[in-house]
Structure formats: structure tokens, C-alpha cells
Symmetry: C2
Subunit: 428 residues, 2 copies
């Protein structure tokens, strides 16, 4: 997408420079700016130091029309951003009565005494315009210098992103007369395809063009596809986005799990609820991970009844009714054991559906016949029990995570009437 | 720690600038440098662009004696770092036969054909000194300019950190005649104290001094305490570190869970193994999280038998033998239910110990008597069953995470013979 104003991001904080925290504000700011049609061309970070902050601000303002700064607006002695900007501009700091009143009001709301140091947060360089903070004590501010502007926000991610969205972006648009186009985006979540496979499938639609951009954002084992479009009117933008999304849906009829940020576990729980079905689990290799994922979702107790985490063979036999002969003859990691575990969990929990997972996560425990990564899934339904076998790649952590996601994806596919992946029993 | 050479970190990549990935290389490099006695004073990031890279490199070399650069050394067209450095220095690129041979050899080892684009990775600015890569295809390189040096590494975190540690730091020491002191560090993990409480307890020992630095690194719900010391000899450094650690141990006799990076779950599993005891769980509020945490650890099956994730009341009754009267009269979130769940899990799994967790994670489901965050722990042992009540703060995610950690910490404290926290039944 061309012809956009360019921005620089500057984050301030000793803890960033010392490697004590992961600075995620930079990527958040970059994505928010992109949604508003502003391209980032560089980023820098400096400690809470007057000289370093002034130097970094000068470098940024010399290179971009918009500079977004985060951090150093707190009440402590370490927080030096306002003072540094005053020194940089050569103007004194001045307390802003309106912002001071807002800070005092906030402490009243919290019924907490306001520390004298918080009054410092209402001091801004004389020529700055305050940016009120509706979510915390530290207001931000805006300065202009030779046709460029710099906006300063607190480093608290939650406050920063809301202030930037609600007050920062409109202020930038107003001051720079930035693009009056409408920018919208949507993120699809994709499971079950590698990044390179996805690249093959979408190669010809993934190029950048005027007013359209498709980004791959892998977060193992999910890949998010973010579509950004711009157009003259909201309606045109919506139509354009729908057309681009339709192409992706046609290319990936089974692998897009959601288009609105819902996770795999949310999708599965909603499908269960829509079909009025309850679910139980028998987890071995995953140790409880699938239940943990499902119960992250508030309200999951409507459809999720529980799980038997049968790490030991005795628990498989005693609580799930797996036959000792199955374990002795075929092993706990087998199609037959997965089937009996699923049936046992369904019976024990009085559930409509049950899924069982058993496998070898490594690093030890593999054999030539059943190497690390060997994994079996069982699904017991009112009508039938089916099993599937897989060889999962990677470390113990990867194998376990993939096992949990394969189990949830099996449920999703079953509930949507799609093909079920993996090797059926007759193939081993 | 004073009088150390100062460094600048520059990371290069379009995906960093676009906010597509979280750039964790910056913090990794910062910590590695600190361990070597080199202080970072600033960081910047630019896209894969010749002009931006040259500009950022000049800014960094003007400000620090050591510049560490990562990214842009891959084989694709996007990777422009070597070319940008050549242009910056005003020297042509030249292929290095030794590095080319190493790349070819690596592809032979992998039995994969080498792409012609990989040959590009052996091209360096004429005046640069190559830095071999023992862990991937992209070699790094070093340049000098007016008394400062810049070292370039690939952006792959695993390769970067090893190359920096094994080749980069020694090269910096050699060239800058940096400190010949010995720098060592140790990280203690602390659970059960807030950062502000820890600040109070350690206020007078947390100050920075020559050759000693104590950092708080919170990663909810654990706080890591990192001790850095420097001394003239390895023995002196070890003695100094031991003395500093002894002070922390005295101040925090029960809250330091490990001194060598072991997680809470690893510590609990090792205590169980040392005492030759087996463990079972009955998880309600955590949905499987505790089992998942324990089974992350390879070899956990030696002591961890399994878990009954009884999200529904029926499963509590059928599989754990909780009395229906308990659930009807006192509720599933009660001391009595926690006790019966623990006893039921111990019995069902034939375990030596069992821990049960039940509570209200929210956001819904709270009542005036039992608000969101109400949480009960049960521990069944061969000798007795005890329960504890808590009111946990925060979001659903926090409540669940704290519930899991409290359960593991209860086990740790029981196995170490420490006091058990929380309200006993008589207090409600």
C-alpha cells in the first residue's frame, strides 16, 4: 500500500535496555499504525536518561513525520521522558491543571491517597498538548517540530494501545491531514498447514498491491492470515475485504478455523453447544493440556464435562476400563488403546462425545516400531468409535502441543462433517 | 557495575518493523553482553533496506564502542545486511572461500542440494573478518571503524546466541582489551511474594554496586532474582556470588524454589522421586493445567500417575466418590469437597499423595459468599487429609494459574516440611 505517511517508534526504559522485559509495545504500535495507513520505517529504544532520550528523539524526528514514543511517564524518579523532551525543545515544564485534576479524580475513584509524586505526571513541556489517559494515571502529550509530530504515551501496554487508537491516530490524521481513506483488516486463523505449504497455495494472492496487503503471522501451531485493505468509503472497503477473504476461503476450504480471533478451543466449544452435545476426554500424552485449553474459555462447563488424565496404565485400566490384554498385547500407545480410552471416558462421564490421546512425547520412550512422536487419537460417538494414527515431528513440547491441537481439530472436523485426517487402523 | 565498555544493539528485518514478529533477540543480546561485563546503552531496529541499515549503523557506531547487529544474513533477496555494510564502508563485497566451503559442507551433511542463493551468504565487505557459524548456514562478520567495532550475526535466535557467546564475546575482549575480570551470575526463582513485598524485604541489598548487581525479573507468577558479580579470579567471583546468595537465602527461607533454573513442577517432581512417593490429582478449577505442567517434564511418569479433571459434579461423584450430600449442602467449592476430591483421587490412582483444587475462576459464577477467586486446596496423604482456603486475585487466567501454582507450592512445602499457607477449615 503506497503513499502513506512514515513513522518511527521510540520506546524508553531501563528494563528494555537491560533485557529484563520483552518490549512488545513496538510491535503493537507498528500494527496499530499500519491499520491506520501509516508505515513504520524504523524503531529505537533507549534507557531512562535525559541525553539518550533527546538524542533518539532528534534522530527519529529527522527521519519521519510521525514519531510514537512510549515509556517514562510514570511517577518515579526513573521516569524522565517529559523532562528530556523539555530539554530537547529548550522549553520549561509546566503543570497542566486539567490533567492534574483528572489524576486526582482517578485516585478518588480508587479511594486511594494520591502520592505527591503523581503530581509530577501532570507536568509537560510548555509547548506540548496533553493527551488525556482514560485508563490510568499517566497522561500523554504531543509536540510539533519542523513539520513532524511526536506523540508520547505511557508504557503500560493496555493504556498505550487504547490511547493510541482513540486519541493518537485521530490527532495524527488531524495534524498531518493524513490519508482520508478507510483502512480495515481481518485476521483468519489457519491450522494444519505449514508456512511453506500455505505459501504455495497462496503464492499468487499474497503479493502486496496498492490498498491490499496479506501477511502471514505464524504462532505455532496456528498461522494467522491478516488481510489489510484500504478504500475511499467504508462500503467499498468492506466489499474489497470480502472479495479478498472469499479467495482465501476458496483456496483453504477446511483449514480456516475462524475469521474473528476465536481460538480452536472456542470454535470447538461453540460447535458442541450449537449441536447440544457434551464432551469428555481421556488424556495420556498431553497430561491435561486439552482440558486446560478448553477450560480457559469462560462458560466451557456447559459442554465440557471433564477428563481422565490416565498417565499410568493402572488408571487407564481402573478408571477408563481399558483391557489389560490391550496394554499387554498392543501397548498403551496403539489404535486399540485409544479406542478403549475414548469409549471409557464417554461412559465414565456420561458424555455424548469423547476424545482420547495416547502417544510418545519423548525424548525417551521411543522404539524402532513406535518412535518418539507416535500418536493415536480415538473418538467415541453415540454411533461409532474411530481411531487415527500420526507421527508428529519436533521436541516433547511440540509433539504434545500438536497432539492437543490434532485432538481439537478432529472434533472440529467431525462436528462440521469434514474429512478426518490421519491413518486409520488398517494401515497401522 | 562501573567502567564497562558500552554497546548498541541493532536488529534488522522487515518483519520486526511491520510488527509481525516479537523481536526477542534484543533482550537476549543485552543479557549476554551484561554477563560479559558490557553495558548496553541503546537499541534500534530498521527494515531490510540499504539506506536505513547504513544510517542506523552510523548512528550506533558514533555512540558505542561495540555494536551488535542481528538479521539480514540469509540467502533471500530481502537479506541485504552485507551489501548495506559494504556500501556504508565504501568497499566492495568479496566471497570468502573458507566460509563458502563450510556452507557447502553443511548441505552435504544434510544430504540436501545447496541452492545457488546460499553462495551469497559467503560474501562479505572486503575489510570484514568472517565469524564462522557452527549451527547454521549464515556466517557472521566483524568490522572496525574509528576505534569502534560492529559484529554481525544471523537473526535465528539459537544460532545468534551461541555465536555471540562462543565467538563474539571473545572477539570483543580481544579487540577492545575489555575487562579481564571474571563475570558470573546466578538466577534464583521466587514464588509467593509480590514484587513490592520482595522490594521491601530486599530493599537494602538490591542496590547496584561496583562488581555486584541484583535484578528482579518478574514472570508471573514467578519472580526471578538474578545476581551478577565480577571479580579478579574465578574463585573470588564464586565466593562473592555465594556470599550474596547466602543473604538472599537468609531473607527468603521458604520462597526460593530453585537456584538453577528449575521450574516449580521440576522441583516438586524431584522431591517426590527423592521420597519415592507417587502423586495423583483431582483438578476442577484448573481443568488439567497442573497435570499439563507436571507432564511437560520428561520422566514425570515415574511419580505422576494421573489426574481426574472433574469439571462436572457427576464426575466428582462417580469417579472421585465425592458425596452428593457434600455438593448439595456445602457446594463443589468448599473445604469438604476439596478433601473428598483429594481422598478420591488418591484412592482411584493408588497414589501416596493426592492434591485437589476446586474454585471459581470467573468471570461468572461468583456469589456474595463465594466471590470469583474463591479457591480450596485439598491434600490427602497416607496419614491425614488437610484443606486450605484462598481468595485469589485477578482475571480468570490469573486465578487459574495461581490455583495451579498454589497446589504445586503446597506439595513442595509439604515435602520439605514447611508451613502450609492458606485458611484452614475452621476459619471458613
Amino acid at each position: 500500500m503506497g503513499n502513506l505517511p512514515e513513522a518511527w517508534i521510540l520506546t524508553i526504559g531501563n528494563e528494555i535496555i537491560n533485557g529484563v522485559i520483552t518490549d512488545t509495545n513496538r510491535e503493537t504500535i507498528s500494527r496499530e499504525l499500519r491499520s491506520a495507513g501509516i508505515l513504520v520505517k524504523g524503531m529505537s529504544s533507549v534507557p531512562d536518561d535525559l541525553g539518550f532520550i533527546g538524542d533518539a528523539l532528534r534522530i527519529a524526528l529527522d527521519r519521519a513525520r510521525v514519531v510514537i514514543v512510549s515509556g517514562g511517564l510514570g511517577p518515579t524518579e526513573d521516569d524522565k521522558t517529559a523532562e528530556a523532551v523539555g530539554a530537547f525543545l529548550g522549553v520549561p515544564l509546566k503543570s497542566d491543571p486539567e490533567q492534574l485534576a483528572r489524576i486526582e479524580e482517578r485516585f478518588l475513584q480508587w479511594s486511594r491517597p494520591m502520592s505527591p509524586t503523581n503530581a509530577k505526571q501532570a507536568f509537560f513541556p510548555e509547548t506540548a498538548v496533553p493527551i488525556p489517559n482514560d485508563y490510568g494515571t499517566a497522561p500523554g502529550f504531543l509536540i510539533e517540530r519542523e513539520g513532524s509530530i511526536a506523540l508520547f504515551f505511557p508504557g503500560v501496554p493496555r493504556e498505550l494501545v487504547r490511547m493510541l487508537r482513540e486519541r493518537g491516530i485521530p490527532a495524527i490524521r488531524e495534524r498531518l491531514g493524513a490519508s482520508d481513506k478507510v483502512f480495515i483488516n481481518r485476521t483468519l486463523r489457519v491450522y494444519g498447514l505449514s508456512e511453506s505449504k500455505l505459501g504455495e497455495i497462496l503464492g499468487d494472492v499474497a503479493h502486496d498491491e496498492e490498498d491490499y496487503h496479506l501477511a502471514f503471522l505464524p504462532r505455532f501451531p496456528i498461522i494467522r492470515l491478516r488481510i489489510d485493505v484500504a478504500a475511499a468509503t467504508p462500503q467499498e472497503a468492506e466489499e474489497k475485504l470480502a472479495a479478498k477473504e472469499a479467495v482465501l476461503k476458496e483456496r483453504l476450504p477446511e483449514n480456516i478455523i475462524s475469521r474473528d480471533g476465536r481460538s480452536m478451543e472456542q470454535v470447538v466449544l461453540e460447535l458442541l453447544e450449537a449441536r447440544q452435545m457434551t464432551l469428555a476426554l481421556a488424556e495420556s500424552i498431553t497430561g491435561g493440556m486439552i482440558g486446560e485449553m478448553l477450560t480457559r474459555v469462560a462458560g466451557s462447563s456447559k459442554t465440557f464435562l471433564g477428563s481422565v488424565v490416565s498417565y499410568s496404565n493402572d488408571m487407564k485400566i481402573d478408571l477408563l476400563g481399558v483391557s489389560p490384554d490391550t496394554i499387554r498385547g498392543l501397548g498403551a500407545v496403539s489404535h486399540q488403546c485409544a479406542a478403549e480410552m475414548a469409549e471409557g471416558a464417554r461412559r465414565a462421564a456420561h458424555a455424548d462425545l469423547a476424545v482420547a490421546v495416547t502417544g510418545i512425547a519423548g525424548p525417551d520412550g521411543g522404539t524402532p516400531e513406535k518412535p518418539v512422536g507416535t500418536f493415536f487419537l480415538g473418538l467415541a460417538t453415540p454411533d461409532e468409535t474411530l481411531t487415527r494414527g500420526f507421527l508428529l515431528p519436533g521436541t516433547r513440547e511440540w509433539v504434545r502441543t500438536l497432539a492437543a491441537m490434532q485432538a481439537l481439530d478432529l472434533l472440529r472436523r467431525f462436528l462440521l462433517g469434514m474429512r478426518i485426517h490421519g491413518k486409520p487402523p488398517e494401515e497401522g
